[in-house]
């Protein structure tokens, strides 16, 4: 209960990261740091063509090449179709991928892999492989994919669950409530906005890396930079035709993921080489491969129509989206589902709602899971349209959101209509402080005053914009997390969790939840995480699930252990368990106390010994959304088109912030990534589909010097279904900058930016095209 929170002693405290000391002292804790004597190195040969059939592949030049041990091509590897998307089973993404295929579908697609004694030898030998390609016409845009008579990208007959391969459609999604056409017709004001988002890449500082070896019993051990160790184990087992229990997957410290490591991209290759050679193997993506042969954010074209009454109350909401999944349909269906499901419930006043989404294949790099997961693209469309509606009706942008947003105790038909690639689950909002986020965020940002300020007459014009957002907390009724808590003989505890801290600090958050329940400090909780041999199942780190779903499992396991402890203590203290409490490592009763260490010792050595331990599972029945109000200040140089973000404020309702400092950090990092997405980040392609900027010199992510001051306000709320009142926070922040900045630019200079990234040249073109600066000045008070 919310009132319990005042008594928390560990949750709500900014504890240091449990892995922090090792990280700041540079200890070898990442997969790539593993010292594996005698490891083979893998180099990948990738396709230089966007669309081609492999007529012949000649690896003879690698035979006898010094150091080469193993060469993999489509001729000597398993041919079953699968998806690289690391999702729960049965997987919602189409089985359209082979380890090595006879057809290549984008520049960067796998052709062959060479394992050799050194990386240099592997690379040199890979370059000697001769491939005879039959070139096919490439499909390089959404429109080209949908054009009549377009080349068919997946013309194979063994793929599964592709919606309409003959027309390059990977997946479709639709959901509706009411009659949107009627709703729009009935509305006093209708606005329509179409946005088109770009190819963007996660760019974690650590590229994908895996190290494999055989353990003394001949089992394969996969040390991987993955967000989903259990899904890696399941998918690799199927590909290699091994029983799941012959594989062990360990996730060490991870150098960032943001969704790109929810994908099984390299583990299969390393594992098969280890299996065939008996040798340890190391396989790391280069930065270029991390861009090209990895995963990206789905580019989308979204048409948004809103109908509202004169007072701004929404009456009809229609979202029509097309996404480009690239050559394979990883997360194709589910990202598209989330484009609607993580946006449309936000404004539940409208009785008429329709969502439709199509996902098309192209011969471009493959899209996948990326922080925000469709919600980022969807909320850009929705919040741009909301800004336009506010403008049209002369209603303040904040007020328009206040009039329409969902509240505690309310629901939206979309929750039931739209799930993760299938029907969803009815859900009533059990905590929503978006109203507070809007109110307090506006106040702190100075919205009312800044919104009425004149943009200026010089070359630099000022403006402010805002947007509102929701996300989710895990996937309801699909994903499960389990945790085990065992007690040690000094009164400390081991927390075994299959969850995956990818740098977010979730191991620390889970330790805090366990420590809170067990009445001890976080130092007395040893976290053992993400090792499929040791830890119970967890779905992995995605969908903003770890704090809420894994946290709830940890809380339940800790509560069960607590009950066992109290039962033992009750006997020792001659008291009823319900009269006991654990405070600072001691169990206190009416007639005395006993330490946790005493209980721990007794549990091992008696009298009457018995391991104190419990395992608990949690499957969420709902996915309570966190909420956010985002505010951006900009300066636009009308002569050059340069946008400078002057300040950014995110007011976030994530329920209880288990670790406030780390919670802020999640939002700050997500906002920074979102600002990059809005202003500079874009993968560019040549006319033949080759990526033009596959490095961090040409694909520009923001540096410290490029970012404005970012203010994060954690607005209090309590989610009754979450652990200690917590919801999620990892993704929502990334959704804010794109619409808030675009809306601020509209305020400053009167142009509606719909195609990120908003480079100076694009802005300059828009300014010239519309000459809107002039008209804006005339309109301004």
């Amino acid at each position: 209960m919310a009132e319990d929170r005042a008594k928390f002693t560990v949750v709500g405290i900014s504890e240091r990261k449990v892995d922090g000391r090792a990280l700041v002292t540079g200890k070898p804790v990442f997969a790539g740091d593993a010292d594996v004597p005698g490891a083979l190195h893998v180099a990948l040969l990738t396709s230089p063509l966007a669309h081609a059939r492999i007529r012949r592949i000649d690896t003879s030049a690698t035979e006898g090449y010094p150091g080469v041990v193993c060469v993999l091509t489509h001729e000597n590897t398993p041919t079953m179709r699968y998806t690289t998307a690391g999702q729960g089973h049965p997987e919602p993404s189409p089985y359209d991928t082979r380890m090595f295929d006879t057809k290549v579908r984008f520049v960067g697609d796998r052709v062959a892999a060479v394992a050799a004694e050194s990386l240099a030898a592997a690379r040199a030998a890979a370059a000697l492989i001769a491939v005879d390609y039959e070139q096919l016409d490439p499909v390089l845009s959404i429109d080209a994919a949908l054009a009549p008579g377009a080349p068919v990208i997946h013309d194979e007959d063994d793929s599964l669950d592709i919606w309409d391969p003959a027309h390059n459609i990977a997946s479709v999604v639709a959901a509706r409530a009411g009659d949107v056409a009627r709703g729009l017709a009935e509305s006093a004001a209708v606005v329509e906005v179409t946005v088109e988002t770009q190819y963007a890449q996660h760019a974690p500082l650590e590229p994908h890396v895996v190290v494999t070896h055989l353990d003394p019993n001949g089992r394969i051990v996969i040390l991987s930079s993955t967000q989903v160790p259990f899904h890696v184990r399941r998918i690799v087992a199927r590909l290699l035709d091994l029983p799941i229990h012959r594989i062990r997957v360990i996730k060490p410290r991870l150098g960032g993921g943001f969704g790109v490591k929810q994908e099984v991209l390299i583990e299969d290759v390393a594992a098969i080489v280890t299996l065939r050679t008996g040798r340890p193997v190391r396989f790391e993506y280069t930065r270029e491969q991390e861009f090209v042969s990895s995963r990206t954010r789905h580019p989308m074209r979204i048409r948004m129509r809103l109908g509202a009454g004169k007072d701004g109350t929404l009456h009809a909401v229609e979202m029509d989206a097309i996404s480009n999944t690239g050559a394979y349909g990883a997360h194709a269906l589910t990202v598209m589902s989330n484009t609607g499901s993580k946006t449309l419930p936000l404004y539940n006043r409208a009785p008429h709602v329709a969502f439709s989404g199509r996902v098309v294949y192209t011969n471009l790099p493959v899209a996948g899971a990326y922080r925000g997961y469709g919600g980022t693209q969807g909320s850009f469309a929705l919040e741009t349209a909301m800004d336009e509606l506010a403008d049209r009706l002369g209603i303040d942008a904040v007020v328009l959101r206040e009039r329409n947003h969902i509240r505690t105790g309310e629901t939206s038909p979309i929750f039931e209509e739209l799930g993760e690639g299938r029907k969803g689950t009815p859900q009533v909002i059990t905590s929503c402080a978006l109203g507070e986020c809007l109110r307090r965020g506006s106040e702190r940002f100075g919205w009312a005053e800044r919104r009425t300020r004149h943009p200026g007459d010089g070359p630099v014009r000022r403006g402010v914009g805002m947007s509102a957002h929701m996300q989710g907390s895990g996937i309801a009724l699909i994903d499960m997390a389990a945790a085990t808590v065992t007690m040690n003989d000094d009164g400390s505890f081991n927390l075994l969790t299959g969850s995956t801290d990818l740098g977010t600090g979730s191991d620390t958050v889970l330790a805090q939840i366990a420590a809170e329940v067990l009445g001890i400090g976080i130092d007395a909780v040893l976290v053992i995480a993400a090792d499929t041999d040791l830890t119970p199942f967890d779905k992995g780190a995605y969908a903003s699930s770890t704090t809420y779903v894994s946290g709830k499992a940890v809380e339940a396991a800790a509560l069960a252990v607590r009950a066992q402890i109290l039962a033992v203590a009750a006997g020792m203290l001659e008291a009823r368990p319900e009269d006991l409490k654990i405070v600072g490592g001691h169990i206190e009763g009416p007639r005395g106390s006993v330490s946790l260490a005493d209980i721990g010792r007794r549990s091992y050595y008696g009298p009457d010994p018995g391991q104190i331990a419990a395992t608990a599972s949690f499957v969420p029945e709902a996915s309570p959304p966190p909420f956010m109000a985002a505010f951006a200040g900009v300066e636009v140089d009308v002569e050059t088109g340069l946008i400078r973000v002057t300040d950014f404020l995110a007011a976030v309702d994530c329920g209880t912030a288990v670790n406030p400092l780390m919670t802020e950090g999640q939002v700050e990092g997500a906002v920074a990534n979102g600002i990059g997405y809005a202003l500079t980040e874009e993968m560019q392609f040549t006319a033949r589909g080759r990526t033009r900027n596959p490095d961090l010199a040409r694909y520009k992510i923001p540096g410290a010097v490029d970012l404005p001051p970012i203010t994060v306000m954690l607005v209090d709320s309590y989610e009754p279904t979450g652990p200690m009142g917590a919801k999620s926070v990892a993704e929502i922040g990334i959704n804010g900058p794109l619409p808030a900045i675009a809306n601020a630019v509209h305020h400053a200079v009167g142009i509606r930016l719909t195609r990120p990234p908003f480079t100076p040249e694009k802005v300059w073109h828009e300014l010239r095209k519309k000459s809107s600066v002039v008209s804006h000045q005339q309109e301004s008070p």
């Binding site: 900014s14 240091r16 990261k17 892995d19 922090g20 000391r21 990280l23 700041v24 002292t25 540079g26 200890k27 070898p28 804790v29 990442f30 790539g32 740091d33 010292d35 996660h202 760019a203 974690p204 500082l205 650590e206 590229p207 410290r253 991870l254 150098g255 960032g256 943001f258 790391e284 280069t286 930065r287 990818l502 740098g503 977010t504 600090g505 400092l661 780390m662 802020e664 950090g665 700050e668 990092g669 997500a670 906002v671 920074a672 990534n673 490095d695 961090l696 010199a697 992510i701 540096g703 410290a704 010097v705 970012l707 970012i710 994060v712």
Partner: protein
């Protein structure tokens, strides 16, 4: 060819390839805190102090560091405990995934050696070539400023 150098205070000798970079040599010598984030000087994850100045170890020929002194984040801690830069990063929530942290701390150390009392803008400029994708730099920059204050007072973490 063979080179001799001092790494974190320890004299080392090693045989190198003439085209090899310092990052690969240091990692081979076990200094795995020197991270390979891009292998072309764009990200700063491999930054080390070379004769006192922070450089991208991936862009320095190992053949040119014969006789040089190199410091990595692994040599920052001493008997007094964590270096202020490490302490404030840990305490201030400046570490998320921690992959960029070693390079960023060495880059910050270069700055604080030259400018012991930097402004926030100077810290941000100093980090121009040190990318972090997790934090948005808010807490790392604050932690460096706090570390600078601690160092001016001559305090440890």
């Amino acid at each position: 060819m063979k080179i001799a150098l001092t790494v974190d205070g320890t004299p080392r000798e090693t045989v190198i390839d003439p085209g090899e970079c310092v990052m690969d040599v240091l990692r081979r010598l076990g200094k795995t805190s020197v991270k390979n984030g891009c292998d072309r000087g764009d990200c700063g994850s491999c930054a080390v102090l070379l004769n006192g100045r922070a450089v991208n170890a991936c862009l320095v020929f190992a053949a040119q560091v014969d006789g040089a002194e190199i410091r990595t984040v692994e040599g920052l801690e001493d008997a007094g405990g964590l270096h202020p830069l490490q302490f404030t990063a840990l305490d201030g929530g400046a570490v998320q995934c921690g992959f960029c942290t070693p390079g960023m701390l060495m880059t910050a150390l270069d700055l604080l050696t030259v400018a012991p009392d930097p402004t926030e803008a100077e810290v941000r400029r100093a980090l121009a070539g040190s990318y972090c994708r997790c934090t948005g730099y808010v807490k790392p920059v604050a932690a460096i400023l706090t570390a600078a204050a601690l160092m001016r007072e001559g305090r440890r973490g």
